[in-house]
Assembly symmetry: C2
Homo-oligomer: 202 residues x 2
Amino acid sequence: MNERLSGPRSEVSNHFYELKKMEKMLFEELVQQRQSDRKYDESREVEEDKLMKCIEAARLSPSANNAQPWKFVAVCDPELRSQVGRAAADMGMNKFCITAPLIVALVLEKQGLMSTVGSVLKNKEYRLIDVGIAATHFCLQATALGLGTCMVGWFDEKKVKKLLGIPRSKRIPLLITVGYPDNPQHDKKRKALNEMFSRDKY
Amino acid sequence: MNERLSGPRSEVSNHFYELKKMEKMLFEELVQQRQSDRKYDESREVEEDKLMKCIEAARLSPSANNAQPWKFVAVCDPELRSQVGRAAADMGMNKFCITAPLIVALVLEKQGLMSTVGSVLKNKEYRLIDVGIAATHFCLQATALGLGTCMVGWFDEKKVKKLLGIPRSKRIPLLITVGYPDNPQHDKKRKALNEMFSRDKY
């Protein structure tokens, strides 16, 4: 499964690499290939059309009552991006964000009356589930296009809001870093099946 | 894009249908094809190997600090399933759950010290985002296998916990219904791009 090359790649091999990644594949292959990439080829920008494909995949996500309680803010300006990256490298964590080729902030939006009432009655913040769904669509689409991503939940939210002009009343559940991965495919460490699955009884 | 047949299908056409659905496809095609299906062919069970492929896709999902704070309980016993379905058809909503060929309950599990501390410090319930991610992996895998799904967030949680022997202290953020769809592909109604996307500034 390790089809990623590590180290520098020539333009020709990059071209092949991308062609390969844009091939059709089984969903289980895509799931295997997706990983949290924390090292990117800093010489390569994320192409505009690829970014927009990821946004489109997120736009089409399902959500509770079709509320779509999200806004995606892509930080494209290099100086701003590096500032947001520094705000993401909060308390010594996630330093890789500083040099990520692209950062996308996921802002939580209002969900409409029906979902709000439902959230209160059922004591369940449906919007965070929805954000997880949309972020997953984004990241899997990125993987399918040969890009690497990392969902980042720990960052200086106040600072990011200020940098992007996001109202203080809003929340940012996630940042997503995007770029061409410059690290090898690694094995996924996960719980065994019997620790996360059962039948008929808990 | 409408490749689904509505109405009854012969065994031969079912066979073709499945083969078609198991072909490799572009992720954007998969996203288009996934929809919240609320009507299933009640004469067709979900095959064991397909269920396990969906569980495997969920098992490989990313999560904050790799906490994997979820357990999937597949309700396979017909009588129990119908009882859970009735608990899901809460207050007149989601009546389709009563006859869904398969229901999977997604239970929220502990996330470990690091994520717990992070959740408190950042006032952010990472686990609900994680559950959204895992549910998305499950449902997209199901779509890729020709199945239809619907994530259900509104149901009588207390009753479902009792039926499945889930401790009262646990939460069930979602149920997922699964089956062979018996409704046509419908258009997705979504916000326009400029309502959910911006660049550099909110």
